[in-house]
């Protein structure tokens, strides 16, 4: 049995907790913290009860117990860090992750901030402590891109990658192309569907996709590139006419994240792309094409967001850690 502490009880945290209860995976939650409270039990917490309390009160545990208390005092093998992303500072998640690594605990996170901003430092700390830092859920939701890179494509040289990494943009572009909607109309629709935030800047200006590109590039090439190194153009100035002009030629427009290190290209931009290209996926789907020396081109398509979908990526990481490291009776 592996013991885990869960920090963050939003959509992703609830999804992970729910699935760990539902599925008999040999993983017990011994600590939980949300933004207002925390609770611990080395024998395992009553998750159903805590989730009901969260729904009723807005917090799940004892308000005198903080996330840092849970990280410092709970009995766990791996920390699941799923607090909201802060793309500017990465905090408080960076602090949480460091605290757990320093205690020789494995860490699994869905949080893009710490990985995009502090990957080298956190990775080095994990290596030094002999524990795992895994972040499959940070890029392309349920698509097992990190596992594919690490295992399936082991030994390959990755020459380039191209991705549709932001579901909000892909939904907007899909709707503009299919219905001739203006950008503003498609954005409003995306909001109504719950696919876009009240402030869509982070998505529509390509920042989210660029952060994911940074995470992928650092994972694959260890090149230390940062958000500022990514050449970035958003979709907010696109016109329905532009999509129609592309359509006349059997093409469409998609926001593509592209990394070709040998050409020094790290770019997120709307691109003209043939409609039958494997990266042209509909709605909020994500897609990633890797170009490698041996396997040549590989394209992965899947859901880029969602509570259960993200839980899939996190649980995949946890079970990897359980198989590889954790030996408990």
């Amino acid at each position: 049995m592996m013991k885990v502490a869960l920090i963050g009880l939003g959509s992703v945290g609830k999804g992970v907790a729910g699935m760990l209860v539902k599925k008999d995976l040999g993983i017990t939650i011994t600590g939980i913290a949300d933004s207002k409270s925390g609770c611990m039990d080395p024998k395992g917490l009553d998750i159903a009860n805590l989730l009901a309390k969260k729904t009723k009160n807005g917090y799940c545990g004892d308000q005198k117990i903080s996330a840092s208390d849970v990280i410092a005092k709970a009995d766990y093998d791996a920390l699941i860090e799923v607090t909201p992303t802060n793309a500017l500072t990465g905090e408080p998640a960076i602090g949480y992750i460091k605290a757990a690594l320093l205690k020789n605990k494995h860490v699994v996170t869905s949080n893009k901030g710490p990985i995009a901003l502090a990957y080298r430092e956190l990775h080095a700390l994990a290596v030094k402590k002999g524990v795992a830092l895994r972040y499959e859920a940070t890029v392309a939701g349920a698509i097992p891109i990190m596992h594919t890179l690490e295992h399936g494509l082991a030994g390959n040289e990755i020459l380039a990658l191209y991705g549709v990494l932001n579901g909000t943009c892909n939904y907007i572009l899909t709707r503009m192309a299919a219905e001739g909607l203006t950008y503003e109309q498609a954005l409003m629709e995306a909001r109504e569907m719950g696919y876009a935030e009240a402030d869509p800047t982070y998505d529509v200006q390509g920042i989210d996709a660029a952060i994911k590109l940074v995470i992928l590039a650092n994972t694959i090439w260890g090149n230390g590139i940062r958000l500022a190194d990514v050449d970035r153009t958003g979709i907010d100035l696109l016109t329905p006419d532009a999509l129609r002009l592309a359509d006349d030629e059997g093409c469409t427009i998609r926001l593509i994240a592209e990394a070709i290190p040998r050409k020094h290209i790290f770019r997120v931009s709307p691109r003209i792309i043939e409609k039958n290209h494997p990266l042209v996926v509909e709605g909020t789907l994500n897609a990633l094409t890797l170009e490698t020396d041996m396997a040549k081109e590989i394209t992965l398509i899947g859901r880029g967001a969602g509570s259960t979908e993200t839980a899939s990526a996190i649980i995949g990481d946890l079970l990897f850690i359980k198989d590889r490291y954790v030996r408990r009776a």
Binding site: L159, A160, Y162, T233, L237, L238, T239, D241, A242, R244, L245, A246, D248, E249, C251, I253, R254, I256, E258, I260, R262, K263, S269, P270, R271, I272, I273, H277, L279, T289, E291, E297
Partner: protein, 172 residues
């Protein structure tokens, strides 16, 4: 204009005996050609000892005469030959105040290079003061020339605050 390629298609007639095809293909690589396709044709009403072969190849400009001479030396009969300048085409979309920023100047900046030109332009203008969109197809003699033309277009778009949408170029 240097560095251009031409695409040659030729129909050859040769004896249907071992070694003949190799003898015909060898001069093509000697002339610096890149063979794209070799198509055998066995026409039923043709003499049984004769083989017709169609060949498509890329050749650096100005090498065709040398190739023909080499083929003749090998005893290969050329029945037909066609030459076409190989052109790189790329389509981009420009969005913004295209007329206010002098579209003909934008096009001129490509055309005046001598190595690339705008060969097609489709445009839509929704209303005065609204941003318009256009699809522009550029052709150039070589890949390098195309890259140079696109670099110019990127610079001009940047200066004129136009949004340039480039094609996703197939796999690096």
């Amino acid at each position: 204009m240097s560095g251009g390629l031409v695409q040659i298609s030729m129909k050859l007639e040769m004896k249907d005996s071992p070694g003949q095809l190799v003898a015909a293909l060898k001069p093509m690589s000697e002339a610096g050609g890149n063979i794209i396709a070799v198509i055998h044709q066995r026409e039923p009403d043709l003499d049984e000892d004769t083989l017709n072969v169609q060949i498509v190849l890329e050749l650096p400009e100005g090498r065709l005469e040398k190739l023909v001479a080499l083929l003749n030396e090998q005893g290969v009969r050329i029945q037909r030959i066609g030459e076409e300048r190989l052109l790189y085409k790329r389509t981009v979309i420009l969005i913004g105040h295209l007329m206010h920023t002098d579209l003909s100047d934008t096009v001129d900046q490509i055309d005046s290079t001598g190595f690339a030109e705008v060969c097609e332009l489709a445009m839509s203008m929704p209303a005065v003061n609204e941003r318009s969109s256009s699809r522009i197809t550029i052709k150039a003699v070589s890949r390098g020339d195309m890259e140079a033309a696109l670099a110019i277009l990127r610079r001009v778009s940047n200066q004129k605050s136009l949004l340039l949408i480039e094609p996703l170029e197939e796999i690096a």
